[in-house]
Amino acid sequence: MKNKIFIIALFLSSIVLMNGCSKELNTKPEAQLTELTSFGDIQNALRGCYDGFQSANYYNNTSNSGSPSGWSGLPDLMGDDYVEALESLGNWNAMSEMIYAADNGIVQGIFAQPYEIISRVNNVLKFLPRFETGANAAQAKQIRAQVLAIRAHAHFDLMRYFAVDFGRNSTSLGVPYVTDFDAATALTTFPTRKTVKEDYDLILTDLANSLIAFRAGGNTTDNTARTYIDSTVVYAIRARVNYYAGQYSDVIADATVALNNRSLTNSAGYSAMFTAATEASPVTEVYWAIPSDNALRPGGATSGTSASYRITAATSAVIQSMGGAYVNTNVTRFNQAGVGGVAKTLCWKYNGIRSFKVYRAGEMMLMRAEAKQRTGDITALTDLNNLRTNRGVSIGVETGTALLNAILQMRRVELLGEGHRWFDIRRSTKIIARAECSSSGGASRADKCTITASERGWIMPIPFNDLKVNTNLTQNPGY
């Protein structure tokens, strides 16, 4: 008996001592990668950059969530084409009334997400060079082209909210331009804000280098769903950047390249473009779309049966008077039943789960028309009428200011619900006058019906948390 027990004890203790050695402490995560090693990892990391756009901080816009949705729902619900509906839970009220302070959570999300994507880009760029020679060289160069374009696009989107102004040579405060990612110094890297001019320069450099890389590696392949950036998208990005900067000849040049590559579709194509059915193989007009992946809901705040924001009566009337593709039920729905007996007009482009169209031909045509008009090019009207024809809207013969106003109105209708309006007001009048405030039909308050150009909210605050940590950042005026 005794001997047996000794043997058992020795056996057990030897097992334990073996267990106790350091090797057993070398556990490895099984649901996370710790390093990018193969080219396949790089390709996944490239998609990881794109994946950042599906965030609720960027293009996703879940209903009533109060998600930042900085470049899909928010610029519309903050603009004057929308009014807060009785259905609203008030989660975006501080945004549409522009009463946000520096510690606003939505503002924080808007500021953080582009930099999150940029850090992914910069991480890919760190690992990329070793694949740019050898078997994967061409594909690696395509990846370089795409991530540089993403970096430019994301920085530009930051400027749209946080830059003090948009002058091409402006020395006003822009945003920090980040080109490096290093985990070891993440807590101690405190970039300063570039000037607006410097930002433009860096954005345009990234875009130029993107085009160079595309030339070297060839254009993006396997892109039927238009979910990846190709060279056409780079021209489109550059056209938009120059449009904000007022560089109209450059707008015309780049928009022309883009439109030559992928042209406008007709009226039927326009309304089909926003259906889920065409997502896998969109019409030619779509340049870059963020795929839904069965989850993205870019219009959660502004569509559906319980939209927090509905189209104003005034804008609704404009859409109806234009008719054509704009009154197609895939695009706009009128007289939708609402709380309090309000008949709502809703933008139906992004009702439910949809891909989000970031760049498309309609915007190019409008920017080119406006650029031409502003530079005295008489073909501006041709561009506008071209668009009208392709939308089933009757053509016109406007000139001068009437033509400009017609282009701008067309822009409002054509791009409604696609994340442009607030930026357009910001670049122009900086005045919002809502008519349906504080009546029983709207949730906005009477004293916030009119927002004037002097409102501090036209430039978003640098988030309080970032200012606290990074003392190199300068706050925007008024906060």
């Binding site: 057993e24 070398n26 649901a31 510690d103 985990a183 309080f464 970032d466």
Partner: protein
């Protein structure tokens, strides 16, 4: 005054003479009553004083005063035995294993059992029998108010929920602050207590200071709660039945809401008729006045039954039990059903002792979500319901509210879409103790234990219910056709401990006692999980069978998740040495080295230790004059311990998370690497005084401590511009917890028939952040909180609300300068305010017993903390006037000159202000029990050993100001327990009757 001086003088002269009184030598032998083996190290006392210790052969020889008529033998694990000294001065004593009464005198550290007398660390031992009859499913809640320095916040009355337990203040910021639970040497998660039977627990010991927890190393950095289950005793088999039946009642909500008349008046006259009702509609709505509480809450029944048997012979003892516990919550369709079983077996064979402790349990839990702000959580929607809407329509279907889809009928949610989870838990350990033959008193012990737990979760959103329809209304048509979600998590942890222990007594009269142990321990945790949500619940089955297969056209594509969540290991080598001289002077040393898989290979290992000393002053000869103080012990300890709890399994590695883009896989950094990440260290100093006065009629202790955590685990705010997921864990800054703990027990009346005991405990903990990363003064932390040097952890960071300007009804705030009043909310005016962690905690237990009748009451109190009431924010928010609203809204400012504290209703309500900050102070009558035990004589006639009947009330009274259901806010309610987020489950107020029969 003069008289007293004279008396003292006389007394001291008398006592001095006594010291030189005659002595006699008493000899004898102490043996184990069971196997007659000699017992070494037993203490020989007379009249409360120690005179010596038995040698290795169990014999002793002590010189005691000639006047002494009896001696007492005391030994750990055995009941004290007092014997008369016969004329020949030879006393042979057999000791029997300790019974319940003497357990109070023992401190179980999990690796060893020490006499309380010899314990020099900070520990409290509580006899489980005094509290285990409380009708609470999760054992950790029972700890409330039982011992000083243990802060228990239940947070919820939902059956089976575990509490937040913090010992001696929070010592970590981003690491864990939860104590370590050890059941029979095996680590157990607090979440699993709902599937364990607390009636099987014999006692539990709370280890607080570094000296006591050092043997648990890094696992015990937040304190340890050691639970020992019941063991069998040799003798006739004893059966015991415990049964209980009770009913839980709904307490009163201190957040007052409007009734129909008030609500409609408010909407029409104050809020500007937000629904746009016509006068006719208003008149119609006025006819309905519903208290939704009547439909959502119920009287919950609780019942439990347990049958246990224990017994054995000289060699083998056993304890076994089966139990059933059913508890309904006060919310309809919430309940816990549990069945457990246990077998504890010990066998002794010459030099070997081995045994097993096995327990298993299964529980099914039907619950409702808590601590969220969801518009589908019944505990929110019951508050946000409109009193002028009836719960059911005329045809019996659930009301489709005008608030839909932003409000779901809570009755339907609870009845039709209830979520269920099933837990299966098994713990077991085997141990073997071997007295090695080569050296006397050298013992080898191995303890191997495993803890397996699995939880299967099930959620459903039935087709046609408001929950499913809501998805359609909010633009998610796939989920609108019903969905089924199921999850499965399993975890297994094993712990293997090897130890060698050597005990010896040295010196001529065996005055020196030494016990040395070396240990090796290995702990490994592995987990696996999966979950999925299937869509298209169109067939008439309320489970996966109801799902229609997904196609590209119908879009019913399931969402799948899971993986291998846990994978960690901890390896330790440690040694302890306990030395005592004359059983009066004590010294304990521990040294330990720990290696953790959670840290990089270069920072993996750490070494630390502790030293503790104790001195029983009352045993000194100079103390003999102090008649009133019959026991006085001074103890002190100093030690450090490393911590790596709650930081995740791979916090130092750069990690890429996964995602999907255009149907392809994605990888992106979601955690930044920190190769320098190392152990968080805590150093604790503890000084304590244990005393007993007036022949132990008053017993008490006072302890002061100071704990300093260095290299705090902090997940600082990463500059947005750095990206990388914004998540990194660093060691930076330091935090101090210092405090005082006192216990005082009075045997006010101690006669044979009538006893009156009063036990008090109080603790005060002061937490201070002493250093922050990069020498910063302020670090952002959480929501509405910040860390500031010199201030406590979890301090609120809000703009101070200064009431309403009577002229215009605007909210006013105090600017950062502390005096200027402004109407403009500005983030620059955020200031550090009070903390959410209560510094003052106290407990009181009062017991009367007269013959077989016992009446006991337990009170507990907590004070000094603040709670952010987000639940109130949601019923005072300017945009939610269309939902159920706080009664205070009736006082909203409407006319110039009106003095009120509620601003005009059309002003944007700012959340990060002190308007929603409330005091968390409370005291509560935790338990009242009236029990009657049958006299032995009557029991004998009935053929049973004993019977006890009782009636008890749980949480019968609570005094608090927080506007909510209950003031005990924990992490269940939101954040780190600083926020009452919403959907609060009321605490159970239970009255029950019970019966215990032994036969």
């Amino acid at each position: 005054m003069k008289k007293r001086l004279l008396f003292l003088f006389v007394l001291s002269v008398f006592l001095a003479g006594y010291g030189y009184a005659q002595t006699k030598t008493v000899t004898g032998k102490v043996t184990d009553a069971k196997d007659a083996s000699p017992l070494s190290g037993a203490t020989i006392l007379s009249n409360g004083k120690t005179f010596g210790i038995t040698g290795t052969d169990g014999s002793f020889s002590v010189k005691i005063p000639a006047t002494a008529t009896s001696i007492t033998i005391s030994m750990l694990g055995y009941a004290d035995e007092t014997a008369r000294i016969p004329a020949d001065n030879i006393v042979n004593i057999k000791l029997v294993t300790a019974e319940t009464k003497s357990l109070e005198e023992v401190v179980v550290t999990g690796y060893a059992t020490k006499q309380k007398r010899a314990n020099v660390g900070s520990a409290s031992t509580i006899n489980a029998s005094t509290i285990s009859a409380q009708p609470i499913a999760s054992f950790d809640q029972l700890l409330q108010g039982q011992a000083p320095g243990v802060n228990v916040k239940a947070g919820s009355g939902q059956p089976g929920r575990s509490a937040d337990v913090v010992i001696r203040g929070k010592g970590s910021i981003n690491g864990s602050n939860a104590p370590l639970y050890i059941v029979d040497g095996v680590e157990v998660r607090a979440n699993d207590f709902s599937t364990m039977n607390s009636a099987d627990f014999e006692n539990f010991t709370i280890l607080r200071d570094a000296a006591s927890t050092a043997i648990y190393g890094s696992r015990g950095a937040n304190g340890v709660i050691v639970i020992t289950t019941k063991k069998g005793r040799s003798g006739k088999v004893k059966f015991s039945y415990d049964g209980q039946y009770g009913q839980s009642l709904l307490p009163e909500n201190q957040l007052k809401l409007m009734n129909t008349q008030e609500k409609l008046d408010f909407e029409i006259n104050i809020a500007g008729n937000p629904w746009g009702f016509t006068p006719a509609e208003v008149a119609e709505y006025r006819k309905t006045n519903v208290n939704w509480d009547d439909y959502v809450f119920q009287k919950g029944n609780t019942s439990s039954h347990q049958l246990s048997a224990s017994g054995g012979n000289e060699k083998t003892t056993f304890y076994t039990s089966v139990s059933m516990f059913n508890q309904e919550g006060v919310v309809i369709n919430t309940n816990l059903k549990r069945v457990t079983g246990r077998l504890n077996l010990t066998h002794t064979e010459s030099n070997v002792k081995f045994g097993v402790n096995l327990s298993g349990g299964t529980s099914s839990f039907q619950g409702t979500s808590e601590g969220d702000q969801s518009i589908s959580s019944p505990l929110n929607t019951v508050i946000w319901a409109l009193p002028y809407e009836a719960p059911y329509q005329a045809d019996g279907s659930y009301t489709n509210s005008i608030q839909f889809p932003f409000w779901l009928n809570p009755i339907e949610q609870l009845k039709e879409n209830a979520g269920t989870s099933w837990q299966l838990k098994a713990t077991g350990n085997v141990f073997m103790e071997l007295k090695l033959p080569w050296i006397d008193n050298l013992t080898y012990r191995i303890n191997a234990g495993g803890d397996y737990s699995q939880i299967e979760g099930f959620g459903i959103s039935n087709f046609g219910t408001q929950s499913a329809l809501q998805n359609g209304a909010l633009g998610n048509p796939v989920s609108a056709e019903g969905a089924v979600a199921r999850s499965f998590d399993r975890r297994f942890r094993y712990t293997i401990t090897n130890s060698l222990n050597y005990k010896t007594n040295l010196g001529q009269s065996n005055d020196h006692s030494l016990s040395v142990s070396v240990f090796n321990e290995f702990v490994n945790v592995k987990g696996r999980s999966f979950n999925y949500t299937g869509y298209g619940l169109l067939l008439p089955f309320r489970n996966e069978a109801g799902l229609v297969a997904g196609t590209a056209a119908n879009g019913y594509i399931p969402v799948v998740g899971g993986g291998f969540p846990d994978n960690s290991a901890l390896s330790s080598y440690f040694a302890t040495a306990d030395y005592s001289y004359k059983n009066r002077y004590f010294l304990s040393l521990t040294g330990r080295t720990d290696g953790s898989s959670r840290l990089s290979a270069s920072n993996r290992w750490t070494t630390y230790g502790s030293v503790a000393a104790g001195w029983i002053i009352s045993d000194e000869s100079f103390f003999e004059s102090m008649k009133t103080i019959n026991f006085l012990k001074l103890k002190a300890s100093y030690g450090t311990v490393g911590n790596q709890n709650g930081i995740g399994d791979f916090p130092y590695l750069q990690q890429y998370g996964r995602g999907t883009y255009n149907g392809g896989g994605t990888l992106q950094v979601n955690r930044l690497a920190n190769n320098d990440l190392t152990w968080e260290t805590r150093r604790t100093v503890n000084i304590g005084l244990d005393f007993e006065l007036f022949k132990s009629r008053i017993r008490g202790s006072v302890e002061v401590y100071n704990g300093l955590t260095k290299g705090l685990y902090i997940a600082p705010f990463v500059p947005s511009t750095s990206g990388g997921g914004g998540t990194v864990l660093v060691n930076s800054g330091s935090m101090e917890n210092k405090g005082i703990e006192a216990t005082l027990g009075f045997k006010i009346v101690d006669t044979r028939d009538f006893r009156w005991n009063l036990d008090l405990n109080y603790s005060y903990n002061k937490n201070t952040i002493t250093d922050l990363p990069d020498n910063q003064n302020l670090q952002l932390y959480g929501s509405g909180l910040a860390l500031q040097k010199g201030k406590p952890f979890n301090s609120f960071y809000l703009v101070q609300y200064a009431g309403v300007n009577p002229a215009n009804g605007n909210s006013q705030y105090i600017k950062a300068d502390g005096k200027t009043i402004t109407e403009i909310y500005d983030a620059n005016d955020l200031v550090i305010l009070g903390t959410s962690d209560a510094p003052h905690n106290a407990g009181l237990t009062n017991t009367f017993s007269y013959k077989g009748i016992e009446l006991s009451a337990q009170l507990m109190a907590s004070a000094g903390n603040y709670i952010y009431n987000n639940a109130r924010f949601n019923v005072e928010f300017y945009q939610y006037t269309t939902s159920g609203f706080a009664k205070s809204g009736l006082t909203a400012w409407t006319t110039p000159g009106q003095v009120t504290n509620f601003p005009r209703i059309d002003e944007a309500t700012q959340s990060t202000t002190t308007r929603f900050l409330e005091k968390g102070d409370f005291w509560r009558l935790r338990n009242v029990t009236l029990a009657y035990s049958l006299p032995k004589s009557v029991a004998g006639k009935l053929g049973i050993q004993g019977a006890r009947f009782y009636v008890q009330g749980q949480n019968l009274f609570t005094k608090f100001t927080l506007q909510g259901w209950d003031p005990e806010i924990s992490s269940i309610n939101g954040g780190d327990g600083e926020t009452l987020g919403g959907s609060q489950y009321p605490a159970l107020k239970t009255i029950s009757v019970g019966l215990n029969v032994t036969f």
